[in-house]
């Protein structure tokens, strides 16, 4: 492991390089550093799990052939949680492996030696992808927090309103008056910080709020 504890990299987008070949690690470290990026190199999958990862846009450059399990195995292991976008870099290009890697969400599958422009383009795509995923994660957390501030009744009202029921129908469903429902509804809008019903519907979609069943035609 190298670079993880260097504070000057703290604010730069970070590239994690996992490759068992020391020559390749050193070279990629040098090249990416000279291109202005933060670089952390790891000799194995377990090294990668051990290294500290600051909360910054990042991507992962992964060799296919690693000593303990392949890069594809590591990709599978990572797929269960939050992880940076993956770029594969391999000495032996075989099509089935490339197809599997890309289908599992890899940004690119490059062969050694690869052109600098190709690698930098893949890294740029990966950083952009990671920024978007991070922004969505923050947005989801913000919505979950707002949703957690709703009262139990307001949480019942939300799916009925976004499910397209009229106030009258929703009120009947909960056995409350239409006026009371309207009060709950406006509180839901305010607490969720939704400026329109359309916005509230989108928020409910992001929160995966289960909607009431509507009669099929």
């Amino acid at each position: 492991m190298r670079g993880a504890d260097v504070p000057e990299f703290a604010m730069k987008p970070t590239v994690y390089v996992v490759d068992d070949d020391a020559g390749i690690r050193d070279a990629l470290d040098e090249m990416l550093t000279s291109a202005g990026m933060g670089v952390v190199t790891c000799a194995s999958s377990s090294d990668y799990f051990r290294v500290l990862k600051p909360n910054l846009p990042s991507c992962l450059i992964l060799d296919v052939a690693l000593p303990e399990g392949s890069g594809i195995d590591l990709q599978r292991q990572l797929s269960t949680g939050d992880h940076p976008p993956i770029i594969f870099l391999t000495g032996a290009s075989d099509i089935p492996t490339a197809v599997r890697a890309i289908k599992a969400g890899a940004v690119d599958f490059l062969t050694k030696p690869c052109r600098k422009a190709d690698l930098l383009a893949a890294i740029e795509t990966a950083f952009a992808q990671d920024c978007q995923v991070r922004a969505e994660r923050v947005e989801r957390m913000r919505l979950q927090y707002r949703h957690s501030c709703l009262t139990p009744r307001e949480r019942e009202v939300l799916p009925l309103v976004v499910g397209g029921l009229l106030n009258k129908q929703a009120a009947a469903k909960l056995g409350i008056s239409e006026t009371t429902l309207q009060i709950h509804r406006s509180r839901v809008m305010r607490k969720m910080e939704a400026e329109s019903l359309a916005q509230l519907v989108r928020m409910a979609g992001k929160l995966a709020v289960p909607l009431p069943r509507t009669k099929s035609h």
Binding site: D21, G23, I24, D26, A27, L28, E30, M31, T33, S34, A35, A65, L89, G91, A92, T111, K112, P113, C114, K116
Partner: protein, 86 residues
């Protein structure tokens, strides 16, 4: 190991130092290509290019040994002792 597997293995082993050479050369150019070139780092990258060049050469030498199958040794024998099969 079949010839195809041997060639794939050679290609893989040679591509590692070649990839390192290319990346180090790119780094070297980057360090030199700014308004204030970082000569120390450029030199470091250039030294690595040399090192990786020797490594590629060493890989090829070791692979020559892998490819050269032992040449059949010839020696004199009395034909009378050999069974004929026709």
């Amino acid at each position: 190991m079949t010839m195809r597997e041997k060639i794939a293995s050679i290609a893989h082993e040679v591509k590692q130092p070649l990839a390192a050479i290319v990346a180090n050369a790119d780094a070297c150019l980057n360090w030199l290509g700014t308004d204030q070139p970082d000569l120390a780092r450029a030199r470091k990258a250039a030294k690595r290019i040399v090192r990786e060049g020797y490594r590629a050469s060493a890989v090829l030498s070791s692979i020559r040994a892998l490819l050269e199958s032992p040449v059949p040794a010839m020696s004199a024998h009395r034909i009378a002792g050999v069974e004929m099969d026709f």
